[in-house]
Amino acid sequence: MKQFTLWMRQVMPPKWFSLLLAGCYFISIVVTQFVLYWFDLYDIQEETGLAHLPSFCLSLFAMLYGCYRCFAFHPIYQDDYREWLAQTPWSYTKPLPRGPLFLVAQDFLILGIISLLSYCHSSEHWHLTPALFFTAHSLMCLISFLLIRKFRSAYVLTFVFSSLLYFHAMPVLLLISVAIMSIISHLGLRESLLTFDKWSGEIPYFLQTNNQTAKEVARNNTLGWPYDLMGPVSSPAKPNREWTIAIALLTGWWSFSVIQQITDGPEFLWLMISIGLWVWHAPHFLIHML
């Protein structure tokens, strides 16, 4: 038992957090049963939505756990950890001392238990629990890719995210999309860790001068007020054509995915109009934001 506890502890959230969520889950069961009994609503419990309350709690837990698994273990989100790690001879082939960043057997065990409980409460919507876990985890991965400037992984992941909207009512297709999304997240994480020494710029961490030096260099290069106004002004970076088209496709696809959720009509036409509009207006501001 002790071995199992130690094994599970590698990925488990803090005890107070797990207890809080378990408490919410049990309270939701008690409240649901009490209301159903008190107002005699057993016959119409599906219509009232009360039957889904415990399942909702489990989905919420799955979502928070998905976020936690990336946020608590990814060095990009933990400044002290990242700085310490950068002073050690850590490289991608060695395990991360804080705990595994990639999903491991313990995660699937926890997710399996939550999904099983969810199925017991609602056999129709149980698939939303694992889907929310992987979506939340991938979302945190996506943010990490943007912070590390791994735009290719972020782009592909954003593209796949929209398919969740499209397939949300089709369990099998939704779970396939989620699986694809998780594979992309995994590959993106792998790529990020492989280039750990270059997170703070194109020059490897080991060869950079310290921040103080960089700041001083920057200061020495300025003319000082008010002469800065006479100095050369750096023009905003021009987005290249490939990225403009890629962003247009992405925003077009997202627009289409959202529009087709709220309107009925010729879907293909909506897609073409959305992409066409975005390509036409070349969304420079989006590229500048990146």
């Binding site: 002290d80 002073q87 001879p89 060695k94 804080r98 060869l207």
Partner: protein
Amino acid sequence: MIRVENVTQHYSVRPVLSNISLMIPTGSRTAVIGPNGMGKTTFLSVLAGVLEPQRGHVEIDEIRRRSTVENELALRKKAVFLPDRCYLPKMRTGREFLLGVGRLYDIDELRLFEHAQRLFNLFNLTELADSPISNYSAGQQKKISLASALITEAEYLLLDEPFSGGLDPAGILALRKVLARLSEEKGTTIVFTAPVPELVAENADRLIVIRDGQIAVNNSIQELLAEAGTNGSVEQMLNEKIFPESEQNVSQYFAGGVA
């Protein structure tokens, strides 16, 4: 051997280290002392490669720090830096942390397990070995961070204030003896900072004093003692060299009208 060549490091316009050059022999135990804010930690950070000096460079075993990624990774394996407040993963147990650190330094698994247990015994942490670090007191956290430096089996230990941070007398005694034996038996080079001279005489065989960005003293303790003559104690001699104005400040304080 650690070689420091013409190192200059300054924060903004305040120079902390000015054109410092020195050598630290292999297998020595060197204490770096000096008044607060005079650059002890900066000096150690430059040795550790955490800071890149504005001028000059540091070499360890003739490999220049921060020269290439491969060299720097090799040096990080060889020279371990333990800051005053070391990062500790609070949700992991002490044992998990030590094993994790050992794996970073490619220590053989069997030796690693056995060494971790010996370190827990050394610092009286055996009962807490499998508890999360968040349950440790400040002194126990200091002990586990010291253990994390020792488990690396590195040839160079760069320790910032290893004797402070709530370490109990048993911990201080254990650390002193371990550092002495590592240096004598395994030839480990140890460089540590200390806030007070009292810790120097028994724990170091060399002394570096940094004052006003310069090396005021860089010598072996034996030679310094010989220089001071037989009349004065080591502490007295160090106090005169490091804090020459302290006696005067105390006199001025009481002369200022204390009843």
